[in-house]
């Protein structure tokens, strides 16, 4: 398989960029593009101490697989893709998502990696609850999904 998708409980096992790069490596691939999302200490004017990720795992993995398949259609069957999204609570700097794309040339790797993160942000069933330094918590306002028949 040239695609790996996964929702992982980060309280059991953290996300690892090396694992993603190793998966997308292949003798014919000269380029690897990687994206990591990490918890920031500040968002929309508030000091953040952590974020909890809630995920509807089966549908999320299904959406990751669909998005990766779309990327292969757009940028070539040689493309290898790895997506892992965290679920659970993370502190500052904790990795919430790791995406890697490997391909013969860099244009495809960059485009595919970017496509996957943008589509996940707008399509995948994942929700983020920010925990603030002042003790308060709030679900981040998100993107409404589109229904399909």
């Amino acid at each position: 398989m040239s695609i790996h998708v996964e929702v992982r409980d980060t309280e059991k096992q953290v996300l690892d960029p090396s694992e993603a790069l190793a998966f997308v490596d292949a003798p014919g691939n000269g380029a690897g593009a990687l994206f990591v999302g990490a918890v920031r200490d500040f968002n929309q004017g508030r000091s953040v101490k952590g974020v909890s990720y809630d995920v509807f795992a089966p549908l999320a993995e299904q959406s990751f697989a669909e998005i990766c398949a779309e990327a292969q259609t757009k940028w070539g069957e040689n493309l290898r893709l790895f997506v892992v999204h965290g679920k659970g609570r993370l502190g500052i700097g904790g990795l919430s998502i790791v995406i890697a794309a490997g391909s013969p040339h860099r244009g495809e790797a960059f485009s595919a990696c970017r496509y996957v993160i943008e589509e996940i942000k707008s399509r995948s069933p994942v929700w983020k609850q920010e925990h603030y330094v002042d003790g308060d918590s709030e679900w981040v306002k998100g993107h409404a999904l589109c229904g399909h028949d």
């Binding site: 549908l59 069933p125 994942v126 983020k128 409404a144 229904g147």
Partner: protein, 81 residues
């Protein structure tokens, strides 16, 4: 029929899942109507209007029929990544 819906995101305040009693011919949009009384006055009203419903494979159209044997979930606007 009895329909169980898994709660996600801001709807977690209602618990892990919510059970609804709906007529046999109910469709997806009826879930939203049936959830309305449970969220009124909780700032979730607006969010409910923006939410979709899904099974484990697809986001469901509002006009789709319901299958009580399936795992169903409410999907408020998403913020992953």
């Amino acid at each position: 029929m009895k329909i169980k819906i898994q709660m996600f995101g801001a709807f977690r305040v209602l618990g892990q899942e919510v059970e609804l009693d709906l007529p046999e011919a109910a469709i997806v949009s009826d879930l939203r109507v049936a959830l309305q009384p449970k969220v009124s006055g909780m700032e979730l009203d607006e969010l409910l209007a923006l939410s979709k419903f899904a099974n484990v494979r697809v986001v469901l159209a509002d006009t789709a029929s319901l299958d009580a044997t399936e795992v169903l979930a409410i999907l408020p606007p998403v913020s992953g990544g």
